[in-house]
């Protein structure tokens, strides 16, 4: 089957789609600007606020995770201090402390395979 006429139409449509999407983007942008202007607000500010609105869920979750990680780091540091303290006490009592082996880091972070993502 000869696809040439279809190909020519497809490339023509692609070119027109390019023009249409460019026009659509310009129209949508000017519409958003007009709406922002109509309210008397600073357009750039409204757009920045709207973008922040969209990004808020990410920011909140990233913030929560950071707090969680800070807490975990604090716990690990406290555990290390306790282990050192125990070692010193054992040495003072003349007992050689057993080597403390930190548990291996879980390769899958204790997640089910379907929960694992590449971030």
């Amino acid at each position: 089957m000869n696809l040439e006429p279809l190909l020519q139409i497809a490339v023509g449509v692609g070119g027109l789609a390019g023009l249409a999407s460019l026009t659509g983007v310009i129209l949508q942008r000017s519409k958003i600007h007009a709406e922002a202007k109509k309210s008397g607000a600073d357009t750039a500010q409204v757009l920045a606020d709207a973008a922040a609105d969209l990004l808020t869920p990410y920011r909140e979750q990233v913030g929560e995770l950071r707090v969680e990680v800070r807490g975990l780091r604090g716990e690990v540091s406290a555990l290390r201090r306790h282990v050192d303290q125990l070692d010193r006490l054992l040495l003072a009592a003349g007992i050689s402390p057993p080597p403390f082996l930190w548990p291996p880091v879980s390769a899958d972070n204790d997640l089910e395979p379907r929960e694992q993502t590449n971030g």
Binding site: L3, L7, G15, G18, S21, E35, V46, A51, L54, Q61
Partner: protein, 142 residues
């Protein structure tokens, strides 16, 4: 925990690479250099130029989206670029199959895959821009 599907990453290395590749494919055609044999066999000169122009401008727009600071400007650039690029990729894939038949199938699948990826990305960007429009309306209405 599921991350919300909001503004997607625009600086993904694969996307930037493919954008550069689109320019590499389109620019020589525009400058009168060699073009893909399958396309030049199927298209008249002016449509070949349209194909090269769309690939070059689309690729530049996506590279621009990765370069600009404003996430909103980047979304607009991507919204303008992805769909035309997808159509041109499908056309190229079809031209490959048309000329080379079954032998051109694997190359055509890669090019069509680029088109499919661009289509999905266009849908993501358009959805995000719609959300942006609604967010602006909420801001203005508030």
């Amino acid at each position: 925990m599921r991350m919300p599907d909001t503004i997607p990453a625009r600086r993904h290395p694969h996307q930037v690479f493919v954008a550069g590749f689109a320019i590499l494919a389109g620019l020589p055609v525009l400058l009168g250099g060699p073009s893909a044999g399958s396309l030049s066999a199927s298209l008249p000169g002016w449509l070949l130029a349209v194909w090269g122009f769309t690939l070059t401008v689309g690729g530049l727009a996506i590279l621009g989206a990765a370069a600009v600071r404003s996430a909103i400007t980047a979304l607009y650039l991507e919204a303008a670029a992805h769909l035309p690029l997808a159509i041109m990729a499908y056309a190229y894939a079809a031209a490959l199959v048309n000329l080379a038949g079954i032998r051109g199938l694997s190359a055509a699948a890669i090019v069509a895959g680029f088109g499919l990826a661009s289509t999905v990305r266009a849908a993501q960007v358009i959805r995000t821009l719609r959300r942006l429009g609604r967010a602006v309306q909420r801001q203005v209405g508030a």
